[in-house]
């Protein structure tokens, strides 16, 4: 179906309602047993009388669950949008935001921070992993450049090789780590939202929103770019600029997302793909729809992760992989090529 502004608004409104539903359900469930009536009461009270104490339930809902849900939603949206971007950049609907090395760069930054003892400083971990990611992105960019242009195949190779190299370093660091550090490292590598708070949200929000906004303004350019670079150029797109911008912005929002919660896989892969299957490949709808669905998906996964074996928390990355891997296999089988 052809994408018109009306279609975009209709579908996004539906997805937004879905998101609100997921948020409400997620606020009501958790390791502590609270009814949804209580949740609504607390939310209303908190909205109308912000100063009045709300007791342990209120603390749980407003200070523990709500920021966690918001952060998961933000990260889910970021990873999904970044996934769209990389898939367009590499002209491959099976690409994922980590394919160009951002994940191993962040991991290296995070693991190093843990070993050096930086993880206890308040923003030590997010900062270190963000720096690691940016460093990797710049490195891959320079290695992947051919002359003045970005050559997608070279970029891909550069990403794979640098990823492998950093993974080797990470493995070495893990082997010399002590027990207490080890469990921290493992949780980070598997994705962890348990320390979400409003500060973190405020810090990554501008990166993610800003990045997504700019990416969206180039949506039609992405449509043309996936048809082929020569096609895009001849239809009037400045392809080199678009590639560069897509790469930088998508890497930036991925880095921001990963720095607050560790590595969560599959979101960037299966969300854009599902949205494409449901609503078509036009990026003017794909991008906002993926953001909304990514948010719902990750909030839902995180909620499952923290309730299914309560009080023990499963790592979010394990839940997304559990859904993601079979779905991915299904997609592969379904492809006509």
């Amino acid at each position: 179906m052809i994408v018109t502004p009306k279609r975009i608004i209709t579908i996004c409104s539906l997805l937004f309602c879905l998101l609100l539903g997921v948020i409400l359900v997620s606020l009501s469930v958790g390791a502590a047993e609270l009814g949804s009536a209580q949740v609504v009461r607390v939310l209303i009270q908190g909205a109308i009388h912000p100063g009045i104490p709300v007791g342990p339930e209120g603390i749980i809902i407003l200070s523990v669950r709500f920021p966690r849900i918001l952060l998961a939603g933000l990260v889910g949206a970021a990873l999904a949008v970044a996934g769209c971007c990389f898939q367009a950049l590499l002209r491959n609907p099976l690409a994922d935001p980590y394919i160009l090395g951002v994940s191993s760069g962040s991991a290296l930054g995070a693991v190093s921070a843990i070993l050096v003892g930086l993880s206890t400083a308040s923003f030590g971990m997010p900062l270190a992993s963000f720096c690691g990611a940016i460093f990797t992105v710049v490195l891959v960019f320079h290695v992947g450049k051919v002359g003045t242009g970005l050559h997608t195949n070279t970029l891909l190779l550069a990403g794979v090789i640098i990823s492998a190299f950093f993974s080797a370093i990470i493995m070495f660091l893990i082997s010399v780590a002590q027990n207490e550090d080890l469990s921290k490292i493992v949780f980070w590598l598997m994705g962890d939202f348990s320390f979400s708070n409003y500060h973190l949200i405020l810090i990554v929000l501008p990166y993610i929103m800003g990045g997504t906004g700019v990416i969206y303004s180039y949506a039609r350019g992405f449509n043309l770019m996936v048809m082929g670079e020569e096609t895009a150029v001849q239809l009037g797109v400045d392809v080199e600029r678009l590639k560069r911008m897509a790469y930088i912005l998508a890497s930036l929002i991925t880095a921001a997302a990963v720095s607050v919660c560790g590595l969560i896989g599959f979101v960037g892969l299966i969300i854009p793909h599902s949205v494409r299957m449901l609503f078509g490949p036009d990026h003017r709808l794909l991008i906002p729809a993926s953001a909304l669905m990514g948010a719902s998906f990750l909030i839902g996964s995180d909620t499952i992760a923290r309730t299914i074996a309560a009080p023990t928390e499963l790592p979010v990355g394990a839940v997304t992989a559990t859904f993601g891997a079979p779905f991915f296999i299904y997609l592969l089988k379904r492809r006509k090529v």
């Binding site: 039609r220 043309l224 082929g228 020569e230 150029v233 239809l235 009037g236 490949p281």
Partner: protein, 273 residues
């Protein structure tokens, strides 16, 4: 009707010149075929003509305007390119693909309006692709996809259309269909057409002018009768050919010779049999 003017253009990718001192004038409304062996620079020349590549020396003019100074979208409003047949991994419908041709006329945040849809429909009508409007492009056959790309090019409302090896993956019936369509567009719409082809006979049959390239230079230029001659073809391609005339239309046609074919006899065929 827009002309193409190539003045002393030199281009190289790395060390050696792929296009050397090439000058060419294509008048508005002409129908050219570009032939030549692999590596002669055919595709590079095409890319120079729509600004995908910039020559290190020399200038390309489109309809009097210097290509190097024009905005991409302005170039796209004058020149459309139909690429070689290739697979697309994304399931855009045919109509969506044709609408992409309207991109040069839309602002970055603008959506297509009813005028754009009308033009797309017109283009699809011309190319007999309306019945694929809602079908994903990656489900169409090579020939059908080809026609959708042509419709997209038409939707750009260009004055010049460039074709890159358009028939290399098509069956013979589709090959003829294609050239018939292009011919009509050239005659009816007065579009300037340039086809890069590996099929010398088809080019010779339909194109009004032929450009034979070798080693990045113009080897011979002129009417099919002038260019498609045994001496030029065999020298340019380095292979022995027999050139006679299509018995029905009189256009020159080549026949490839085996290495062990007997030398130099050619039965007189003018009007015979």
């Amino acid at each position: 009707m827009a002309s193409i003017d190539v003045r002393e253009v030199f281009f190289r990718y790395t060390d050696h010149w792929v296009i050397e001192d090439l000058s060419l004038r294509v008048e508005g409304g002409e129908f050219w075929g570009v032939i030549g062996p692999n590596g002669s620079g055919k595709t590079t020349l095409l890319r120079l003509l729509y600004g995908f590549l910039n020559p290190q020396r020399g200038t390309v003019f489109i309809d009097g305007g210097e290509l190097g100074r024009m905005k991409r979208s302005d170039i796209a409003k004058k020149v459309a390119v139909v690429p070689q047949e290739h697979q697309i991994n994304f399931p855009f419908t045919s109509l969506e693909v044709v609408l992409m041709g309207r991109s040069p006329y839309l602002g970055r945040l603008q959506f297509e309006n009813s005028g754009d849809f009308r033009i797309a429909e017109w283009a699809m009508g011309l190319t007999d692709t309306l019945r694929f409007s809602g079908r994903p492009i990656n489900e169409l056959s090579g020939g059908e996809r080809q026609r959708v790309f042509i419709a997209r090019a038409l939707a750009q409302e260009p004055q010049i259309i460039l074709f890159d090896e358009p028939t290399s993956n098509l069956d013979i019936n589709h090959q003829v269909e294609f050239y018939d369509l292009i011919n009509r567009l050239n005659l009816e719409k007065k579009l300037t057409i340039l086809v890069v082809s590996h099929d010398i006979n088809l080019a010779s049959e339909y194109c009004r002018k032929i450009l034979l390239l070798k080693g990045g230079r113009i080897f011979k230029m002129g009417s099919p009768r002038e260019v498609v001659a045994a001496e030029y073809i065999s020298q340019a391609y380095g292979s022995r050919v027999l050139v006679d005339e299509n018995p029905l239309t009189g256009s020159p046609r080549i026949t490839l010779l085996r290495k062990d074919a007997p030398e130099g006899e050619k039965p007189e065929t003018k009007g015979e049999w």
